[in-house]
């Protein structure tokens, strides 16, 4: 319709017609970006308004501006960084403790069928058990120190990564296995040149999932037997009815999630540059 009108006004100029359409597409793109940026701001403003007008109970939902104030205070006293630092340390430690063995076992399962058939039933049986339900036992065995929490995180990160890694190897196209065999790849070369890089895309998806699960786990783990960390901050603030402090803790978790997913996306670009 619009095209017809433009064609009438520039009957001889195809470039003008296309330019007009291109500008229109650009505008639509711009609108999408605006919406993406606008939606969280909209939510915050709505929250502020409802809380200030007492349409929602400001004791449970303090206005965002006040939460920011509390946040600033906690930054000043330095409290926040102690909690952040210790949680960060536990997440990274637990994450690596879970991911590294999971990748190794997953690759072995993908490459050697007997290994796969031996471990698959064990993994399937253990996977549905929430690691948090095992926390009492983990605390007895590993103590209530940082290591116990890392083991809890590792336990829940392990499963999505091991399953995705094994699937990643299993899904490598048969033709690449044929090429490797035809050109005389020995098992060591096969591992480094075919199995590992070929499984990386699916493996990284598993790691992405593991990262999300690690965040869920750390908070819960720190609520149970800890004297520091973001989970501890959230839990004690809640119990002391310092809800603004609690919200600061929640925002920090969200920030952690964002930070880690950006980190993983960068890793992905670095590790699988052939994906276009």
């Amino acid at each position: 319709m619009d095209t017809a009108r433009i064609t009438k006004s520039h009957p001889e100029n195809p470039i003008a017609v296309e330019e007009h359409l291109w500008k229109k597409r650009k505008r639509r793109e711009g609108l999408k970006h605006t919406l993406t940026v606008f939606s969280p701001i909209f939510l915050l403003v709505l929250w502020e308004f409802l809380s200030r007008t007492q349409l929602i109970d400001p004791r449970f939902f303090p206005p965002p501006t006040e939460i920011i104030g509390t946040f600033a205070q906690m930054v000043m006293t330095g409290d926040l960084f102690t909690h952040l630092e210790i949680s960060f340390y536990r997440i990274i430690g637990g994450f690596l403790l879970g991911v590294i063995p999971a990748i190794l076992l997953g690759l072995l399962m993908g490459m050697y069928t007997p290994v796969k058939y031996f471990f698959s039933p064990i993994i399937m049986a253990l996977m549905p058990i929430p690691t948090l339900a095992l926390m009492p036992i983990i605390l007895i065995i590993f103590g209530i120190g940082d290591f116990g929490k890392m083991v809890t995180i590792a336990g829940s990160v392990f499963f999505p990564v091991v399953i995705n890694t094994a699937a990643g190897v299993a899904n490598i196209d048969q033709i690449y296995l044929d090429v490797a065999k035809n050109y005389g790849a020995k098992s060591k070369d096969f591992f480094w040149k075919i199995a590992l890089p070929g499984s990386l895309p699916v493996m990284l998806e598993g790691i992405q999932m593991g990262q999300a699960i690690a965040l869920l786990t750390i908070v819960a783990a720190e609520m149970m037997g800890a004297h520091s960390g973001i989970g501890y901050l959230i839990w004690t603030s809640y119990k002391a009815f310092l809800l603004k402090d609690m919200y600061v803790g929640l925002v920090l978790i969200s920030f952690f999630g964002y930070f880690f997913s950006i980190l993983l996306r960068m890793l992905q670009k670095k590790l699988i540059p052939w994906r276009k």
Binding site: I175, Y176, V179, Y183, G184, K193
Partner: protein
Amino acid sequence: MDQESKITIHNLTKVFFKKRTAVTALKNINLEIQDGEFVCLLGPSGCGKTTLLRILAGLDKESTGSFHISRAKKNRPLQSMIFQEKGVIPWLTVEDNVAFGLNMRHLPKKEVKERTDYYLNKVGLESFRKLYPSEISGGMKQRVSIARAFANDPEILLMDEPFAALDEQNKFILQEELLNIWSETKKTVLFITHSIDEALLMSDRILLMSSQPGQIIREKYVDLGRPRNMEMVRSNPKMAEQFVDIWQHLQTAVQASRQN
């Protein structure tokens, strides 16, 4: 025979067995291919030509019978395969794909580089060496595959419909390029195709296959000087006769397999 043949296949049979039914893919194949000969296996899809190639490539095992590839030089791989378009490894750069066989054999770095450079240059991909397969066209990918096989310097080359996925113009260009590179080395080639034109253009000898059971039913020598190109094949009345002859033969083979 005064000269030992390069590839000898003796009474080779392959049966696929699944759920108590047996399908004879290849039946009593006997074949001798001379050193430096370019042989095309031509037949309808499902006639077992790919199975035969995979057995020679060490990717499948014959049920009974045997084959032998004679070795002229020590430390040379017996065979290398040029796969279909998908056979280029996506996580290796063009350069690493070409060097793949050499690296798998752990040759000295200098030698790997020399040979890789030489064949990259031959197929005109030097300036694309750092790119990944996803960044180049289908024709270029197939050039990578060709360079990889020749760089490996095997006793014989096996080619599994390498141009089947290309458009016609690209196919003509690559066929001639392949013939050019081949004429330098004069390696023994076993080439699979279902295109009669391609077989006439490329080969010294065409083996016609029937399907189920896969058997070689006839052989034809292609009497045309080299270097060749598509124009020569298309304008030569003798080749046109050959084409019709082969086509009639294949037609009866295809009809026969349909009735089974």
